[in-house]
């Protein structure tokens, strides 16, 4: 197996890591819609950390190995339209992903406040934060962007 084949394998594995993390967050979003207590909200924290790690690994790996391949692989160049499109989409997705994280971090922050204040029962404001429509919209937007990157990588328009 050549060095470029290893790089391609790591590039694709990174894409799987990224999408796995995004799917994990979709599951947490669906589960979170029924959560209105600080305990149940904070319970999902460690699982979310796994999602953060896989998304981080995926984002870093796709860009590092992807750019390496664009320079190293003889048939493609970094300025090819489909590679430039993927780079632009990657930056857009990273931005919307970061904003998604900020939107969903408000619920555990509130849950911690409530727990420290000794309020462990159901809380309407916490439920609303767990159901944040802004967060859902941003995660949906990020998912569409990632889907477009996958389509771009498979169809390679103009290559």
């Amino acid at each position: 197996m050549s060095f470029d084949q290893w790089m391609l394998a790591f590039h694709v594995l990174s894409a799987f890591s990224l999408v796995a993390g995004m799917i994990l967050f979709w599951v947490l979003i669906v589960v979170g819609r029924r959560i209105d207590t600080p305990g149940d909200t904070l319970r999902l924290g460690p699982v979310a950390k796994v999602g953060n790690a896989t998304v981080g690994l995926g984002l870093g790996g796709t860009i590092i190995f992807g750019v390496w391949l664009a320079f190293s692989y003889g048939h493609y160049d970094i300025w090819d339209g489909w590679i430039l499109a993927a780079l632009v989409l990657w930056f857009i997705g990273s931005g919307t992903g970061r904003k998604t994280g900020e939107a969903f971090n408000e619920a555990p922050r509130k849950a911690l406040e409530l727990e420290e204040a000794g309020q462990t029962g159901p809380n309407a404001e916490l439920l609303a934060l767990n159901r944040t429509s802004r967060g859902v919209l941003l995660h949906a937007l990020t998912s569409v962007v990632v889907l477009l990157i996958i389509i771009d990588m498979i169809w390679k328009p103009g290559a």
Partner: protein, 152 residues
């Protein structure tokens, strides 16, 4: 020749390949979610259930979509007519098929585990489910490596 075929694949393969890859990504995503929830549950019934249902409602449909995509590609590709199929295709195919069978067994064990959990009994079977899910995840990482890197 195999490398050339992979490089200059026909455009008509793109949609089935997309279905195959998307299904595999959903499968792996469900395994990561399910294994994480089961591993971090520490006997918490809600997280244990979340782990099992992630495997059932995310991983299993993902496996079906992945296999549909694989069969679709298989109906188009010339490799199936070659006397010696490439090794990476064998690795990916064997892991995908055997992994599906193991996934079904995992879901049966996990389903019994959740039923026992609902009846207030111990969650030992869900620990078995976690162990098999982790093995499956490792196997699918190898499959993705083989399918992407295409070792000769």
């Amino acid at each position: 020749m195999i490398g050339m075929l992979a490089l200059i694949r026909d455009d008509s393969w793109n949609l089935p390949l997309f279905v195959h890859v998307l299904g595999a990504m959903i499968l792996v995503g469900g395994l990561v979610t399910g294994a994480s929830a089961l591993a971090l549950a520490k006997d918490d019934a809600k997280l244990l259930r979340l782990g099992f249902w992630s495997l059932m409602l995310v991983s299993f449909p993902g496996w079906i979509v992945m296999r549909i995509g694989a069969e679709w590609i298989n109906s188009k590709e010339p490799w199936k007519d070659l006397p010696d199929k490439p090794r990476w295709l064998d690795i990916g195919g064997v892991i995908a098929d055997a992994g599906g069978l193991v996934l079904v067994v995992t879901l049966i064990i996990g389903g019994i585990g959740v039923r026992r959990l609902n009846a207030g009994k111990a969650s030992g079977l869900l620990r078995v489910t976690l162990a098999i899910a982790l093995v499956l995840l490792a196997a699918y990482v190898v499959a993705v490596w083989a399918m992407a890197g295409k070792p000769t």
